[in-house]
């Protein structure tokens, strides 16, 4: 007679940041820190996805909100390596939507203001712990998420690493 085998738990945990990461370089630098890390003993560190989004409102000389510009960078996984071009160009492109750009294309007095509530920066890595636990670590400007892991020790390892990053300043809560 058939029966199920022993079920395998799959966990996910979120580590909300006490303060959102405001500086793109800080956010981007965490990826480099992760890739360079050796203390966690990870067997695998591969980027899985990257999405960088920012929104600026266009304000006319009468202080009316007359439009918005959304910059979205979502490179395909098929691009070789962790996508340097998108990481480099996103802040340049977003920063170029400035008052000078608007005055050049519209009229004097137009301004650009970022809607920080719509800021959404995220990258996700497929990692494998020293014990062979294959899972995903997503880092956004607001939180870190460890998902699809099987071993509680994996969470402890990642949490310990997060504690060394000043921008990720709260403990993961399962």
């Amino acid at each position: 007679m058939g029966s199920f085998n022993t079920p395998t738990p799959v966990y996910s945990a979120v580590r909300p940041f006490k303060n959102e990461i405001d500086a793109f370089d800080t956010f981007d630098g965490i990826a480099d820190t992760l890739m360079a890390n050796t203390t966690m003993g990870l067997k695998k560190k591969e980027w899985s996805s990257l999405s960088l989004k920012g929104v600026k409102h266009v304000i006319n000389p009468d202080y009316e909100d007359v439009g918005d510009v959304t910059i979205l960078s979502t490179p395909k996984k098929s691009d070789a390596g962790f996508p340097t071009s998108s990481r480099t160009n996103f802040p340049l492109i977003f920063g170029s939507v400035n008052n000078q750009f608007l005055e050049r294309n519209l009229d004097d007095g137009y301004t650009a203001v970022e809607d920080t509530d719509k800021r959404a920066w995220s990258y996700k890595f497929n990692i494998e712990s020293a014990a062979g636990d294959d899972c995903f670590l997503q880092i956004t400007n607001k939180k870190a998420v460890l998902s699809s892991y099987n071993l509680p020790a994996t969470l402890q390892t990642v949490n310990t690493w997060c504690n060394t990053i000043p921008a990720m300043d709260n403990d993961i809560t399962a």
Binding site: L52, V58, N60, V66, G67, D68, V69, T70, I71, L72, S73, T74, P75, K76, D79, S85, S86, N89, F90, L92, I93, S96, F101, L102, R104, N105, L106
Partner: protein
């Protein structure tokens, strides 16, 4: 005394595919003035543009043709939309990234639409006509004859 419902009122909507997609921004903008000035369709004197929304997407690529980013521009103000979208040109890409960087519009991502509202003068039947790049949607009208009026207007102005 027995209280009962009044006779039900039907409100209709219908969709029509444009004979040709609107590809020139001036054509959709020009439709506002055509609508306001129309003297042959039998619309009532009060004619409103009750909403406008214009969205366009630019794809930026670096000099080695690697994808860099999408730039999505949205405005309810037709007076600034073309200049704002047009500002994201290859010149802008080269200035912002490197020489050889390019920017081009993804025309399939265009979403231009406006809502024209009025009545049919002979019946007083109110209607709304949402004009999009590839179709129009007539709605909120009660007389089926209103659709004939709108059909004639669309055939004259959206099938060229």
């Amino acid at each position: 005394m027995t209280i009962t419902f009044e006779p039900p009122v039907a409100v209709y909507s219908a969709e029509r595919t444009n004979g040709k997609k609107i590809s020139d921004f001036n054509d959709i903008i020009g439709l506002k003035e055509t609508f306001r000035a129309d003297a042959v369709s039998g619309f009532g004197p009060e004619r409103k543009i009750t909403s406008e929304s214009y969205t366009g997407v630019i794809e930026a690529r670096n000099p080695t043709a690697q994808y860099a980013a999408y730039v999505k521009v949205h405005s309810k103000w037709p007076g600034i939309y073309p200049d704002l979208l047009g500002g994201f040109s290859t010149d802008w890409a080269e200035r912002t990234m490197d020489d050889g960087a390019t920017a081009h519009e993804l025309e399939d991502e265009r979403n231009w639409q406006m809502v024209l509202s009025s009545t049919v003068a002979s019946t007083g039947d109110k209607f709304q006509l949402r004009v999009k790049i590839d179709k129009v949607i007539a709605s909120n009208y009660k007389n089926q004859s209103t659709l004939d009026v709108l059909e004639a207007f669309c055939a004259s102005n959206l099938d060229n």
